[in-house]
């Protein structure tokens, strides 16, 4: 304990000694929070000015502790140029710790492309995505009821910097808003609730608000998704995806009536969903959709040049709290995804994330099964994931196949970006399996030949 206090005090001292961050101020901030689906997208436009004497290389973004654990992704871009000639420059964002963080505030550090000289201003676009942030209230609803949710946030932007002027907009999916906390000036027009403009708010200002509104968009939550990508150098990539899906909205209460569901679809079960859409790669073939008791026959596949769409239904419509597990498998031609690097290694270039649209994945595991005999796997990813190596035995394997396991929590569709797995592979290993089969047949024939020719009788006839 004493040691911790000591470390803490040293850290505070260190922080104070180079706390140049406080020399920034935000001239103008606009925040637009899109609440229309169950994935909350927030767009933040910040105009940042360096009011200190030293150049600032980075700035902090602060998030309240309730949001930090639901934060799936933070992206920042610097805008240069005016109006029509705007160019976006992606900036490096990484989570960071601040020792003097009040009330467990979480931070992200945005590094500017070029350090901000004193007096200079820069405009930043920040996108952050929150999952599991809409709390259904009432938490249990009957089949005929509509789903209402709470969204909690602050009317003013939490920031370690002084903000001169700011506005926040909440966009709700429908005009039905039960209530919202009023922090003057605040007003609502149709689907939009506007908080602000607020002038001159001190660092770490916070004004909690609750918005209670109707949201019947499908709360598709994949509790666990395991994607297995098996590379076969014989020409295809077999992908198998194990889903454990649930409806993350208000729990279904009481009766499920089929009569109501099929005859009064518009008012009955409005928050439920029974159709899902997966965006698969083009040229996909051998698609299947099943679960552990067999094939599910309700699916349609549309293949295209840019993408293929698999439209499918779970066995039953999903109401709040209901679950469905299923497996989707497909095959794609190898030449589109496997390449040879200049240094002779091979690499797989595939999309991370979940193919289902508008879905939160609580736990995503991607297993890349390399061909038998592959060595030295390494991965290239735009964000950090947990990595591990395993061994898998498949058809006719002797030493087993190396499996690169990538694991990430809280994944949203924005994470669907390409990643690469590099490995070395000698083509001679490809011949191992055919050789085994050939030799097995050969031995069968040799054995039968021997059987015919060897006399096993003890007594001579």
């Amino acid at each position: 304990m004493a040691a911790r206090i000591w470390i803490f005090s040293v850290a505070v001292a260190l922080f104070l000694s180079f706390s140049s961050g406080h020399d920034l101020q935000i001239v103008n901030a606009e925040r637009r929070i899109d609440l229309s689906s169950h994935i909350v997208n927030a767009f933040l436009t910040l105009k940042v000015e360096n009011i200190g004497k030293d150049p600032a290389a980075d700035m902090l973004l602060a998030f309240p502790p309730t949001q930090i654990k639901h934060l799936s992704m933070v992206q920042a871009m610097a805008i240069t140029g005016k109006k029509k000639k705007k160019t976006y420059l992606p900036l490096d964002v990484k989570p960071t710790e601040q020792p003097d963080a009040p009330n467990d505030t979480g931070y992200f550090l945005v590094s500017f492309a070029t350090p901000l000289t004193p007096g200079e201003t820069v405009t930043l676009e920040v996108l952050y995505i929150l999952t599991h942030s809409l709390e259904p209230f009432p938490s249990e609803i009957a089949q005929s009821e509509s789903q209402l949710v709470y969204y909690r946030d602050s009317a003013v932007i939490l920031s370690p910097y002084h903000i001169k002027q700011q506005t926040t907009f909440f966009k709700t999916p429908s005009a039905r808003v039960e209530s919202f906390t009023s922090v003057d000036p605040a007003n609502r027009a149709g689907k939009e609730i506007k908080y602000g403009p607020y002038e001159d708010r001190a660092p770490y200002s916070y004004a909690p608000v609750i918005v209670h509104f109707e949201n019947n968009s499908p709360f598709v939550v994949v509790e666990e998704l395991v994607r297995e990508i098996e590379i076969s150098h014989w020409g295809s990539l077999q992908i198998t995806e194990h889903y454990r899906l649930t409806h993350g909205g208000a729990r279904h209460k009481g009766v499920f009536s089929r009569v109501d569901y099929q005859s009064r679809r518009s008012i009955s079960g409005s928050s439920s969903f029974n159709a899902l859409l997966a965006v698969l790669p083009p040229k996909v073939n051998s698609v299947y959709y099943r679960d552990n008791i067999g094939n599910i026959s309700t699916s349609h596949l549309r293949t295209g040049f840019k993408k293929s769409e698999l439209e499918f239904e779970p066995r039953y419509p999903l109401f709040g709290g209901w679950r469905a597990t299923f497996i989707i498998g497909y095959r794609v031609p190898l030449e589109d995804y496997l390449f040879e690097a200049p240094d002779g290694r091979r690499y797989l270039n595939f999309t991370f994330g979940c193919p289902l649209v508008e879905t939160i994945v609580n736990k995503l595991t991607i297993k890349v099964v390399l061909p038998e005999g592959s060595k030295d796997p390494s991965t290239v990813l735009p964000f950090t994931v947990n990595q591990d190596l395993q061994v898998k035995y498949s058809y006719l394997d002797i030493v087993g196949r190396t499996v690169v396991v990538l694991q990430k929590d809280n994944v949203v569709p924005t994470h669907n970006v390409p990643f690469q797995v590099y490995y070395t592979f000698k083509p001679i290993y490809m011949l191992a399996e055919p050789f085994m089969l050939v030799s097995a047949f050969f031995f069968v024939f040799v054995a039968s030949l021997a059987y015919v020719h060897i006399d096993l009788n003890i007594v001579k006839k």
Binding site: F256, R258, R315
Partner: protein
Amino acid sequence: MGGKQDPTANGSPKSESMGAKKASPDLLNSSFSFKSLKLKTKQQELLLRVSILGLVYVLAFIARLFSVLRYESMIHEFDPYFNYRTTLYLTEKGFYEFWNWFDSESWYPLGRIIGGTLYPGLMVTAALIYWTLRFLRFFVHIREVCVLTAPFFASNTTIVAYFFGKEIWDTGAGLVAAALIAICPGYISRSVAGSYDNEAVAIFALLLTFYLFVKAVKTGSLSWALGSAFGYFYMVSAWGGYVFIINLVPLYVLVLLITGRYSMRLYVAYNCMYILGMLLAMQIRFVGFQHVQSGEHMGAMGVFLLMQVFYFLDWVKYQLNDTKLFQTFLRITVTSAILVGGIALGVGTASGYISPWTGRFYSLLDPTYAKDHIPIIASVSEHQPTAWSSFMFDYHILLFLFPAGLYFCFKRLSDATIFIVMYGLTSLYFAGVMVRLILVATPAVCLISAIAVSATVKNLTSLLRTKQKVPQTGSTKGVGSSKSSSKVTLDQSQPFQKNGAIALLVGVFYLLSRYAIHCTWVTSEAYSSPSIVLAARGAHGNRIIFDDYREAYYWLRQNTPTDAKVMSWWDYGYQITAMGNRTVIVDNNTWNNTHIATVGRAMSSYEDEAYDIMRSLDVNYVLVVFGGVTGYSSDDINKFLWMVRIGGGVYPVIKEPDYLVNGEFRVDKGASPKMLNCLMYKLCYYRFGELVTEYGKPTGYDRARGVEIGNKDIKLEHLEEAYTTSNWIVRIYRVKPPTNRL
């Protein structure tokens, strides 16, 4: 025979088999000679025979794959789901866990000792195949192994049928038998891919045991008898139908004794087979001491003792050398032996040491027994007496060839043919008693018909050949001239013999080709439906799939508490535990009639009475199957009278006439008030009265029975609708907890 240099190798396996069967049957002893590339006749014949058998083997397998191609690789029907579940358990937990498995998920609250109440042969076979494949680095799923077990064993059965046919007649008959049994609908009905049931391996084991026993009797060899004992052990481990073997074999021995065909060979074969077979069979926990204690097995023991008496008498006769003395001795011994046997049987039965015959056994001997005494056996459709049409459907031309085959068998009577005749006649009788036992008769019918086909064709072709040979004798030098010239003398007997023979041959081939077409058609149309997934033709000829069963079971599996208890009629018990993974009250094992009757009583009571029963059984969900929307006729309403009968058999408060109006079962306005308000009716038709099922019909029109239902205003008090599948085939209700008492 030596003159057969060009065997008729034109196309169909059957015609090839005709040519092939001519040669002498020593298959294994023939050695290849590589000195000349040209094959000798014997080698040609061997090549032909092996390739025909290979083709038949493959054919038997692929003919059973219709269901996989048309639907998917899935387990069919009811019992196979239990077998699949236990196999899964076996492969996951190992043999000892499996053997000691107490299943608390079925027969709640009683549970079921799985290891002691099942025939493990099928599961162990599938698990062994699975483990072997995994060892050989073929990482298949256990489901695929289970689905393909039946076709694989059907293929093996064809090989056994070949050897059996060869044993009782000749290689030609063996080949024909293999070809006939490969596609015989009576067998295919129980061995299509996915029909993962005990019968799948049991028919193989049955035929193997019989074949080995016949071989043992023929040779008097201990090794064959030992083989047949192990075959019998496999059969016992696989299917309850082993009782057929243990009664048929002694009966056969008895017939041989009576007809004076007693020999040392028979003595060795039967004693070895019986003693070893018995000891081995007792290792199966489900059989155990029943094998020496129950009434069904007593015959075998009696014949065993009789055999010893016979041997003893033979020995005494040999020692005495005095006929008069021997006659007296014979009289005394036989009387005392019968007396001792009778007393032992009487005392054993009276003291309860020897259990009497079971109801199932009785119902086999007396077709009307089950109907009067055991409604639970009578309620199963496959236990009904067989209609003539289903004989025709399952046997087709074999039905006509069978008597012909019997004629040939009697014409050339031997130990082996006596066996096949007895097997054929007894099994055909049982097939007449119960539809499902057509399966047991199929191998016998195929073998005997094969004898008919083979013998007929052989006779006809030999006629043709000798006719042809007459002008040829001069040109073909030496080869077989002596034999054909000897036949020439026979030929002059009838004038139109050649034409007649050709016509008859064409007729036979036509019949056989019709048989092949019929078998394929039956397999594809009737026997390849998994019955879990229902398929129908839509208005535009498109295929509509009703996958409601799996929808409901999967809903149960995913969206109910893991310890939920589901009450349904016993038909769906295995499927609910296997696919829904939930505890059931009763299932297809039907070992406890009272428990089933309790469920039957709950279904046929008023809701509040049923609620008390359901509360006492801790029921959380009730599942009913309802075909009123789709017109699916094998639903719970149509099975309802059996529930009433079985329930009423134990609880006399349930009376069948209460549910009938003038002896007629109705669901419309004219139905009896008890019917209109019993739990089953309410659960099936809840809110059905609001639905329009067919254009131009009133609401609540039941398409399965073609009537408008009588009670459209159904209120449920203690239950609520939890889930109904998209076509309403399965409806699940939640049992509400009791309301708080104030």
